[in-house]
Symmetry: C4
Subunit: 277 residues, 4 copies
């Protein structure tokens, strides 16, 4: 929907997803590295399974909410595609947004199937997620004809995050469990979320002052702004990672008898990683 | 050939190939995963070999049929390349389509050679298939000068499927037997097939109502349509995969004494995959 | 040099290199696969070393010949870069071609160093070769301003082969000894060589009939022609590979006592490859 | 800053970084290969750790110097972003350069954290470095509107080095310790540094003679010049590598009793590499 809420809604979805991924993958990573000192008790495999299923269900329901909002909110097409009175396609914008949500719904459903049955190969959830990001970028790419310069540019910048996210997901098919790719995906998702909010504020400012959509200076500022959003997304993921790390360690310290020497296994692992340096 | 049949013919070829690949690779995948419970008896290596050879032969003959249809169907060049009376190249469109089929014929022939002799490395069939898809996209890319906007756009969208298929094949050289890449290739092939039919219906509609080839709204609708075709292709592959899985399992269940505990090895494998999670 | 010979010379170099690579890598591949039946005696490691050194030396000398031809042939700049009388850079075309040859000379020199000393990591020869192909494509890319449409197009098509070759070389850094990449590199090199000859014949035809450089039909024909060149390059490499295979096998058959069962080890290896199918 | 110093400063930073990387990675590589003959004593793990930490600290401080220079040098914005009197963004150029430095500062800080604590996965330093290069290229890409042809072109050429550097860093995440990628990164960094100096001399020549920024000949010369810079960067890295190799070998020779047979282990390793040939 070409209004403030239509950008704030997906923005919030992506922000939540990005933060959730940063926390989840940091948690798995730290428990994996501290398994020998009993971290396995903090995050058992059964818990992981259940969380993945919940994540899939939430993604599916958010996407369905998005689709319904696009269709039935004020000015939506209410599932009419063709307006026979004007002989024109009806509200194509809303339909395009619905198609974007559709692929995220498919990704959520696939994640549900993959983690609750053993019918499908595990990596299918990443493949579908990658296709969902790709499809979002693909539709944005052909969706901006004839708008103002800044409007086009600000949406184009979004493509770096969506195609970057798609690429990261596709790489994860071959490098599943690589913490760097997982954190990168979380960062790009956060970037996308915060950028949707930025778009909302630039194109539909709640205040009286409107942006000049054809000023070249504004365009240069927005480009720079994007790199700041990326910096903030990286910072947010770093903070989430550090927080999870601290919480897990302090829990482990309380859980374990002191004489076990909490930090040894980590140091050892650090050394062995240095070997490949 | 710039007519309905000239697009419906390759469309049908691709649809058949995509469905066939989805079924074949799902079958190999499920037998591989259930080998320990006797699934090897369902799909022996000899059967696999024979099917690969048949596939190569069918691909070769389909491609030759396509080449002959382009050359000898009404208005074809009948292998005359240069028209010396008009001092012009003759029917370049048909020749370009013939060149596209030619590479698929080469890929079929190479697949025949690879699987029936031991002279060539196994992955050559994927390399040639990748080159065939690439060549198809390459020729389409330089083949659309001066046509209507929608005509160009609708052919350009095809390139996502062809270049995507080429990339998937090339990745398979290094990750042979990866079920995700195989299903992705099947999906992209189905997408290409159904899109050829879509092109046929848009550019040469059998009904009286013609599409307005320079309407911007139509272009946006077609873009969205493409993402729906992708969704349907993914769905079709998913259904094919699930059907094969069910059939194999029920066959195994009948074949095996009940006490062997059919589902155990699958659960075990599922767990071990979770370890890399 | 913008004349027939200036395109035929590098074309011949690339044709020779492509054929040589197809033969060399096929030979190494077949001896590697038949090592257990004594093929190691046909191509010892010492021979491999010596051939690699000779190859480097030949590449270096060919490139130096090319550089000197560009500088001193009729109309060459004779190493003068700046013409102070006209206050202009002098014969920039020849200088650009010299720069292209320069990188191939560097690649040849690096190959010499890598294979005759143990100072540098082995894969450096592929990295430099990749950079040489990349640099060739890079210079062609910015070298065509303001020429005729067909002239630009025919040179642009060359970029597929050069950048493809560069990519193949860079992939070989990580997958050294992969026969598919080696044959692909040979094919792309052959394609480049035969395309240089095609350019020579189109832009500087020896006959009286000139091509119309702004005819759209010619452009479409040339594009299709490129795909035919690729098909012929693939065919040539396939024939070279098959010939080498036959020669090696017949030599082995004569060399070995018959009772050793010549074909067994190959069949075994074929089977084990089928396992990954 | 659009002046000579504003290009010479980052140019010098990149030149120093490139040379330093060439020396550092050559040193690690040669000590790794000669570990069995006591090279481990030359470069212990503790030393490696300390050098990585120093490198991070130096990168951080250089970047902060760059940021402060952009903000407070003559004509800098002094951290004012919006000029409310003119209702315009203030000195966006300087702000963009500050953003570029910001990401290198983040990369330096992350390198410090990664190597001085065990909180973060090791490869994060390469990921952040890759993002810093990418961000630099990204901002340059949208930063050149409405300038002279040669000005745009000369900055665009820089993108090959920055995006190439970003790609190399991202590949290093998966292939850490690959000497080829490390030397390639050093070369691209040197290329960037020397190219910044070239830009400074072309756009703000210290002599009286100005370059004609819209002359097509100059553009072609500059393109060729870029390939020469690349050749020199490769040469510089090669010389640095060879020097380090010689120094390490002569040190080992003095350190070790002669009868240990210094060159054996290297020859052995050379042979084993030949096996993969």
């Amino acid at each position: 929907m070409g209004n403030f809420k239509g950008h704030a809604l997906p923005g919030s979805f992506f922000l939540i997803a990005g933060l959730w991924w940063a926390v989840k993958h940091s948690l798995w990573y730290t428990t994996r590295r501290n398994r020998s000192v009993g971290a396995g008790r903090l995050a058992t495999r059964a818990l992981q399974h259940r969380l993945e299923i919940i994540e899939g269900a939430v993604m599916l329901s958010f996407s369905v909410i998005g689709m319904l909002a696009e269709q039935f909110a004020a000015g939506g097409p209410k599932f009419h595609l063709y307006n026979s009175s004007t002989e024109h396609w009806d509200k194509l914008m809303n339909w395009q947004h619905t198609s974007m949500y559709l692929f995220f719904a498919l990704a959520g459903a696939m994640s549900l199937i993959v983690h609750s049955t053993d019918a499908a190969p595990l990596a299918l959830d990443r493949l579908m997620m990658g296709l969902a990001f790709f499809n979002e970028g693909f539709l944005f790419l052909y969706h901006l004809h004839g708008r103002d310069m800044l409007d086009v540019h600000i949406h184009m910048l979004l493509l770096y995050a969506t195609f970057g996210g798609a690429l990261t997901c596709l790489l994860e098919i071959f490098h599943r469990g690589n913490i760097l790719l997982e954190l990168l995906r979380a960062s790009l998702c956060l970037l996308q979320g915060s950028w949707f909010w930025q778009i909302a504020f630039v194109l539909y400012p709640p205040s009286e002052v409107k942006w000049d959509l054809s000023d070249h200076n504004n365009m240069m500022f927005i480009t720079m702004c994007y790199s700041w959003h990326l910096a903030f997304a990286l910072l947010a993921v770093a903070i989430a990672h550090a927080t999870v790390l601290c919480v897990v360690r302090s829990k482990l310290r309380r859980m374990l008898p002191m004489e076990m020497g909490l930090l040894k296994p980590q140091e050892k692992e650090g050394d062995s990683e240095d070997d490949i340096l």
